[in-house]
């Protein structure tokens, strides 16, 4: 089938009355929670992963991707108004957004961030839309050995990007071990501690709720409010709209930042934070007046916001094509596909390409809706940070329990959530990376499956693996990603 065939099929799937409602709901929840520093869209997606099991698959994935989009944008609101980024991806937004607020230009900055986010999202998905089919055909040529290398690359590149290779690989390996608990391919049980409820493995949703949401709550209760202090500048919707319009004065920055966002988003583990940093740095470097950056330069806000939203298209494309997550958020989206019986990667490309195209196409109306939702309610979303934790924490806790009971209704799932919450809290307190563990945990089952297949296919003839060009290239990439932090540190030491 050609692109037009998949396009028709996807449009047919999207032609449902409730789809716009899920988009609106997802965006509102995403922006609301994305604006909460330390909470972000991860909490929102984790909490709603369980209930999404009861939705039809397309509505569930669209709802969760809308939360993702909303949260990436929402993180910029508090960065502009209070210099407190709701998400790490919004750090660079605050570099110029907050000085603009100090100059009384906060409405303009908010308008710029809304329009840049929507355009970044739109452009990145537009490119993904055209590249998805050819890339998908390439991915279909991958065998188990290549897929194993891709999964290992996803795990090792966390260390390459975050530079601390040992803690990342260590937690990733532990994640793989925990992810393989349950029955083996031959039906024998592994590490289930006598609990038959673990026969199919540790359930994803309670585990993720514990390690991502509950552990964050334990840290949040240490303070009375999500943030304390700060001023509440006056909001003016017309000034926000004027700010949105002024984004078109920076067309070059918008296009460049969208491309930077897309390319970095395609790389496993790089994500929106690095995309916005690279884009901001590039905008400063090519500017005729780089000294203005950090002092309220509108281009700085545009570059950061376009790139962090633009990275979403790349991250979702990598997730659907290869089945590897670029961040915790896309790891959660993989879990969402899994609970609806789909496996992102070559299987999705082969069996559900129409579905994948429906997800990509749905992002265009989400980008349009983002403009309206964000412009109309930006003032209300900004107030969320003044919510006292004594109300927020018990409410989220009850929602987390509902989420963990959602898929199977077993009390043991709540116990699993609590165990993972304790583990996540300790990891956070001791500065061990949660991302490595989460990636390993989600990919553990896949590693096990692909390693088993590779062993059965090439166990007696290992040299045959080196006759496969894709395998050799991916193996070389893995070696580079493992060696890179050590080599770069050594090179930096020599330069000094």
């Amino acid at each position: 089938m050609e692109l037009s065939g998949y396009l028709f099929k996807a449009l047919n799937m999207l032609w449902l009355w409730d789809i716009p409602l899920w988009m609106l709901g997802g965006l509102a929840i995403g922006i609301f929670l994305g604006a909460l520093p330390g909470v972000s869209g991860v909490l929102a997606i984790t909490l709603l992963l369980g209930p999404s099991y009861y939705m039809p698959p397309l509505q569930a994935i669209i709802f969760l991707t809308a939360i993702y989009t909303g949260s990436v944008y929402g993180g910029g609101i508090t960065a502009v108004l209070l210099n407190i980024p709701g998400t790490p991806a919004a750090i660079c937004t605050g570099f110029d957004g907050y000085p603009m607020t100090q100059q009384g230009r906060h409405n303009e900055a908010l308008g710029l961030s809304i329009m840049s986010s929507a355009i970044g999202l739109f452009l990145s998905y537009l490119i993904v839309f055209f590249l998805f089919l050819p890339l998908g055909r390439l991915v279909l040529k991958f065998g188990p050995a290549e897929m194993l290398m891709v999964v290992i690359f996803a795990l090792t590149s966390v260390g390459m990007v975050k530079s601390e290779i040992i803690p990342n690989v260590l937690t990733g390996l532990f994640g793989i071990l925990v992810g393989t608990i349950g029955s083996s391919a031959y039906g024998h049980t592994r590490g289930i501690f006598g609990q038959m409820a673990l026969f199919e493995g540790i359930p994803l949703i309670p585990a993720l709720l514990g390690i991502l949401a509950m552990s964050e709550l334990m840290i949040m209760i240490e303070r009375p409010f999500v943030i304390s202090g700060g001023v509440r500048p006056k909001q003016d919707i017309w000034e926000v709209i004027r700010g949105m319009g002024s984004t078109f004065s920076y067309t070059g920055t918008v296009i460049r930042s969208s491309l930077v966002g897309l390319v970095i988003g395609l790389m496993p583990a790089a994500g929106s934070t690095i995309a916005s940093m690279v884009s901001y740095g590039l905008a400063k470097r090519v500017s005729r007046d780089p000294d203005q950056f950090g002092k309220g330069e509108a281009r700085g806000v545009v570059a950061a916001e376009t790139a962090n939203n633009g990275s979403e298209g790349g991250a979702v494309a990598t997730m659907m094509l290869l089945g590897i997550p670029g961040s915790v958020t896309t790891a959660l989206l993989i879990a969402a596909f899994m609970i609806h019986g789909m496996s992102p990667g070559p299987f999705l490309v082969r069996e559900n390409l129409g579905f994948a195209y429906a997800v990509i196409l749905s992002q265009f109306p989400i980008a349009a809706l983002l403009l309206f939702v964000a412009a109309l309610f930006v003032n209300y979303f900004a107030r969320v940070i003044y919510l006292p934790t004594r109300i927020l924490v018990p409410a989220v806790l009850i929602f987390a329990v509902v989420g963990s009971l959602a898929t199977r209704g077993l009390t043991i799932d709540v116990v699993i959530m609590l165990i993972f919450a304790g583990f996540g809290y300790i990891m956070k307190k001791l500065d061990y990376p949660i991302m490595g563990f989460v990636l390993g945990f989600i990919l553990g089952g896949l590693v096990d499956k692909e390693l088993l297949k590779s062993y059965l296919m090439f166990g007696d003839d290992l040299p045959a693996l080196f006759a496969r060009p894709a395998f050799v290239v991916l193996l070389a990439l893995n070696i580079v990603s493992i060696a890179w932090p050590t080599v770069s540190a050594w090179l930096a030491g020599r330069r000094k």
Partner: protein, 153 residues
């Protein structure tokens, strides 16, 4: 407890758990069903070894490898809001299947709010009623989610 000591204990516990899992897996009859666990375990052992060495050296250099006196630690733990919250969550989980999700959750919400410093009957009860009503309409009435039912509701 010092951070260095905490890290060392954490690494040892992670390794011990992995060892127990590995020992269980190597008894499986087929080689191919234990290969992932075996590879991951031995690589983990290598990385835990390196990380432990780094953390012990770091702790020795900063003289930061001290256990807190338990006589001080235990009363402090009893007053800690996180510990109180965890204890009440454990009680909550035990009671859910006995009494039922909604009543237990309402009581738990009030308890959590009280532990976190909310005072006054209305401020404790009203948010609980609103949130549980919201959960009932969204999850039970619309999504038909099966939440545990005990002898109450």
């Amino acid at each position: 407890m010092s951070r260095s000591l905490g890290r060392i204990i954490f690494l040892i516990l992670v390794w011990l758990f992995s060892l127990k899992y590995y020992v269980e897996c190597i008894r499986l009859p087929e080689f191919s069903e234990k290969i992932t666990v075996a590879v991951a375990f031995w690589l983990l052992t290598l990385f835990v070894g390196v990380e432990l060495f780094r953390r012990i050296r770091e702790g020795l250099r900063s003289k930061d490898l001290k256990f807190p006196p338990y006589r001080e630690a235990l009363p402090r733990l009893a007053k800690d809001r996180r510990a109180q919250l965890v204890a009440s969550v454990i009680i909550y989980i035990i009671i859910i299947p006995l009494i039922g999700f909604y009543i237990t959750s309402f009581l738990a919400f009030c308890g959590f709010s009280y532990i976190l410093g909310t005072r006054g009957f209305i401020r404790v009860v009203i948010p609980g009623v609103i949130i549980l009503t919201f959960i009932f309409f969204i999850f039970t009435a619309i999504l038909n989610l099966n939440l545990p039912e005990g002898f109450l509701f």
